[in-house]
């Protein structure tokens, strides 16, 4: 029994190493290499060329990080504003065709937005929303909003009406009930929904490309040509940078929301 367990552990650890650690290690080596030809195990030459380019002003990296963050944050805020009342309705109330509505709201998860991208593009052209940040923001809500709604729905169904009833008897009106009772209960759900929204928004390529029409250059847009084969060293550096930005954003989100949460506790 113990042997089987050890074997399992070994396999899992091995898979983790192969799938998780090696690609990252490879990226690091690639990004710092000047030349790396087959069949060498390690790069033959150390170079900062890729990083110098990526972090330099000529590449426009910093601007595109700004664009990416801008989009991700705006999408997250709009999602939260929509998902809070939507989650309330889905999580705590019964109404006709609720099941149908839930499926429709989950559809972007079940059917990838790419499927409807052509139609969406067409519609956005008519509405004059292409080649604009606002259009990209709107398009990014498509694959992200379902996650946010799912998160708030679960939070609301856990919350129920009990706490608000209690707050009512203590003299709390609608706005204060939301601020002092509902919101603190929703926070964990909103954190999860925001994290997913940010990561998914930042990873969008095809939607941004088509709706943004090449005018909205996010970090993903900037790195894609390099990954696609143009310059592997630069692509690797961008990949690492992307991961760092995403991680940094998660940490910021955590710190910010935790502080808010702690304030509520005070």
């Amino acid at each position: 029994m113990k042997r089987v367990f050890m074997l399992m552990l070994f396999i899992v650890f091995g898979l983790f190493l192969i799938a998780g650690i090696f690609p990252i290690l490879y990226l690091f080596m690639l990004s710092f290499s000047g030349g790396w030809s087959w069949p060498d195990i390690l790069p033959s030459e150390f170079s900062l060329r890729a990083w110098k380019y990526v972090l330099g002003t000529a590449s426009g990296t910093w601007h595109s990080i700004g664009v990416s963050l801008h989009i991700a944050v705006v999408v997250t805020i709009i999602n939260a504003v929509i998902a809070i009342p939507a989650g309330d309705a889905l999580g705590r109330y019964k109404f006709p065709f609720k099941g149908v509505l839930e499926i429709i709201l989950m559809l972007p998860i079940l059917v990838p937005p790419i499927v409807i991208l052509m139609g969406l593009h067409r519609t956005f052209i008519t509405l004059g929303l292409t080649e604009k940040l606002s259009g990209v923001v709107l398009a990014h809500m498509l694959p992200t909003l379902p996650y946010m709604i799912r998160a708030t729905t679960i939070s609301f169904s856990r919350l129920g009406f009990e706490w608000e009833e209690q707050a009512k008897t203590l003299g709390a009106g609608r706005i204060r009930r939301f601020a002092h009772v509902v919101f603190p209960f929703l926070l964990p759900g909103i954190i999860v929904g925001s994290a997913l929204t940010i990561l998914i928004s930042m990873s969008q390529y095809v939607i941004t490309l088509l709706i943004g029409g090449g005018q909205v250059i996010t970090l993903t847009m900037r790195m894609f040509p390099y990954i696609n084969g143009g310059d592997q060293g630069t692509g690797a550096a961008y990949s690492i940078l992307f991961a760092l930005v995403a991680m940094g954003l998660m940490v910021l989100l955590d710190v910010f929301l935790n502080r808010l949460y702690r304030e509520k506790r005070m």
Partner: protein
Amino acid sequence: MDFHLYIQNLQVKHGEFFGLIGESGCGKTTLLKILAGLLPVNEGSLLQNGRDITGIPAEKRSLGMVFQQDRLFPYMNIEKNVAFGLKMKGVPRSKRITRARDMLSSVGLKDLGERFPLELSGGQRQRVAIARAMVTNPPILLMDEPFSALDPNLRKEMRELVLDIHKKYSMTIIFVTHDREEAFMMFDRMSIMRNGNVVETGTPRSLYEKPSRLYTARFLGIPNILSGRTEKGLFLTLEGLELSMEKHEGEREGELIIRPESLEITQFHPEDRFAFRAILEKTRFRQGMVHCKITTHRGLILETLEKNNGELEGLTGKEVYVSYSPTDLVFLENEREVRECSTLMPEK
């Protein structure tokens, strides 16, 4: 939810400890929530000191309410929880902290203000809930089975606490429970509820000793309810037992209610009391009392409850005299019960 309440008229007096009691699903919690403003009234009105409060939302009624679950906000410490009502009223911070601390010490939790709800025991949390409901000094405190989730020893302690609070702050308390013991111990007056109706209202003692509805007697746990009819100052049970009544009722069918402690078992016929003969089947002792089961020669089974004087043990299995006083018997006429039920039953 398809449930209807039909309350004809119910008045709670100022400063009274009033109970709503009934089995689960009788509408007692619904009624309490209506009083709190958490549920709307379809018809009729709610008056507080003569002022119509039917349309006033819960947050403006300034009532305190304690639920079965403590419902403390888990992300606030105890002090903040207690001070919540004051914060909603716009009381300045330093004042509300002082007041919250006073309230906490009056429920016996002086030093726990900094802790969080999850760090407290169930009983402590319910004390905090009481302190929180009372912090704004509401004229009326509503309590919805606040102790039923606690273990029995704790329940007793909490009852004492609430009785003390009632005395000290002289507030009106409306208390929902399904527990008869709680009712007899705490309430000044109470309403027994069933199927969304008030069956009867009165002091626990009067309801127990002189119930005017059969359900009252059953609900309050009177085991001896005999069917039969009255005739010439006697009550004849279906089994053929004859009992003397206090007054002539004429000829009527109905139920006779005999409280178990009004019966007395003796070996010989007592001179100054009415008595009938029966066989003492079983005796059971509990806390200084002895609980007996007797069977009359016609097969009628009755229960009695007396002080344990040590004599009854030897009489088990023997024929004894069961004496009673006609003033202790309560006769309820059949039709009356049927008629009232039909007018009060919820219409579907």
